[in-house]
Each structure stands twice: as structure tokens, then as C-alpha cells.
Amino acid sequence: MSVTLPSSATELFDDLLPTGIKGYPDKIREINAVFGFDIEGDDGGFWTLDCTSAPPQVHKGNTGKCQCTITLEHEDFKKLLSDYNAGISLYFQGKIRVSGDEKLCLRLGEFFAITRPK
């Protein structure tokens, strides 16, 4: 069984992430924030990642509870799926826009540490 990265926002948010977060409910709840992902362009959409609910959940659409929303083009989003360093250049090019409490984005980075042994 080969393990590959998700190739689109739909695949990540609709299929893989809901399954993925079931493996780490407690660690994700520690993030304790509700994020919105507004992916623009073809095959884009809006998803809400609720790290406060028990268990954490991914919702299709805007539930109205987003504390921090990240907006970017789908093509740019796909770059981040395989290269986390792309975030800095995309942000300073203005291709990633954040609305709401920008500081909560710092907690989003904790997803990176979840799968890595301490």
C-alpha cells in the first residue's frame, strides 16, 4: 500500500484529514482554535477545522465560528502540501492572507509536531 501526499484541498479536507485527526484527537484539541481555510480557484472551497470540539472535526463550508481564516489560491495551497518552507515566500508575496486573530496561526504550526516523536 503506497502512501502519497494529498493532491488537492478537497482530497485533504474531505477525505484524508477527517480520518487523520481521529488518530490524534487529544493533541489536536490542545491546539484549541477554529480555523477557516478559504481556498480560491478551481477545485477550491471553504472548510472549517474545529480543533475545539470533542472530537476535532472538519466541516465543509464556513460554520461561522472561525477565529482565524487563511485565504489562498488552490495552486499555492498545493505547494504547501509538500513544502512547508513555501509558506514564507507566499505570505510575503501577499498570496496568503489571514483574517481574524492572526496569532492563532502560530498554533496551526503545531500540526507539524504531532507526527514527529519528541
Binding site: 494529498p6 484529514l17 488518530g23 505570505y91 507539524f112
Partner: protein, 175 residues
Amino acid sequence: MTPEEQNELDQLKQSLRLTTAELADARGKLKAMELNVYETKRNAEKTLSEAKALQTETEQSLAVAADQMTVAHAIGLGIFGMAELTRARMARASAAARIVYRENHLVEHLERFVSAQTVGNADGVKQVLGYLKEKIAGIRHDGEMNRQIAAEQYLAHGFSAFETFWQKLLQESPK
């Protein structure tokens, strides 16, 4: 007063007038220098003040940029991490599936291996086999992905370790 003395006196007066004029001129120049120094000092203080203000502004801009860079980096880590989360989940499922397969394969192979041998230490061998089965079962039920992958490696090593142990038993057991 003699004409010579008068002449000398006139020359002295003339010298004195010149000296007085030079002194006034020197005083004027000194005053100008003082003003110049004062202006220079004022300009230097103003430049220093502007430089400090610019430094403060630059430091604040750098701090803002650093904050933004941290946010940007966190967003990149977060989205990548979510993708990794799914990979880890899938990798763990793969590892678990491989462990189940190998466990069944290993135990089956070991049992065939033991039953195929006719040596005086069969009870000892069976005890070892039982121990290995328990060990494998205990590792398999551990939920952490990294330990499951380690268990997979253990199974691979455990099999070769058991073969080594078995060969040693064959050499040591009475014929």
C-alpha cells in the same frame, strides 16, 4: 620730547592701533568660530536624534517582519503538517497491516520449524516459541506509530534471532 622720541612714540601708537584692529578682527573670527561650532553641534544632535528615530522605526519594522515571518512559517508548517498527519495515519495503517501479516507468517513458520525438528530439548524450544509469541503480541498492540514500525523491524530481527538461538540449541542438545 625730542623729534626722535616723538617719532618713536608715533610708531608705537601706530603699532598699538594695528594690534587693536587685529585683536578686534581675531575676536570677530573667534565669535564666528563659536557660532559655527554651535551650529555644527546642533546639527549633529539633530542628526543623532533622527538616526535614533530611524533605528527605532527599523527595529519595530524588523519586529513586525519577524512576527509575520513566524506566522507565515507556522501556516506553512500547519498545512504541511495536516498533510503529514494523513500520511502518518496511512503509514501506520500500512505498518499495522504489515505487522499482522508478518506476525502470522512468523508464528506459522516458527511452529513448522519447531515441529520439523526432533531433538531432546523440544520443551525448551517450545518455551522460547511461547515467549516470542507473547512478545510479538505485546508490541503489536502498542498504538504509537513509531513503535509499530519498530515492532515491524523487531519481528524481522526476532525471526533471525530465533534462528540463531535455534541453531545454538541444536549444537548444544544431546544426540
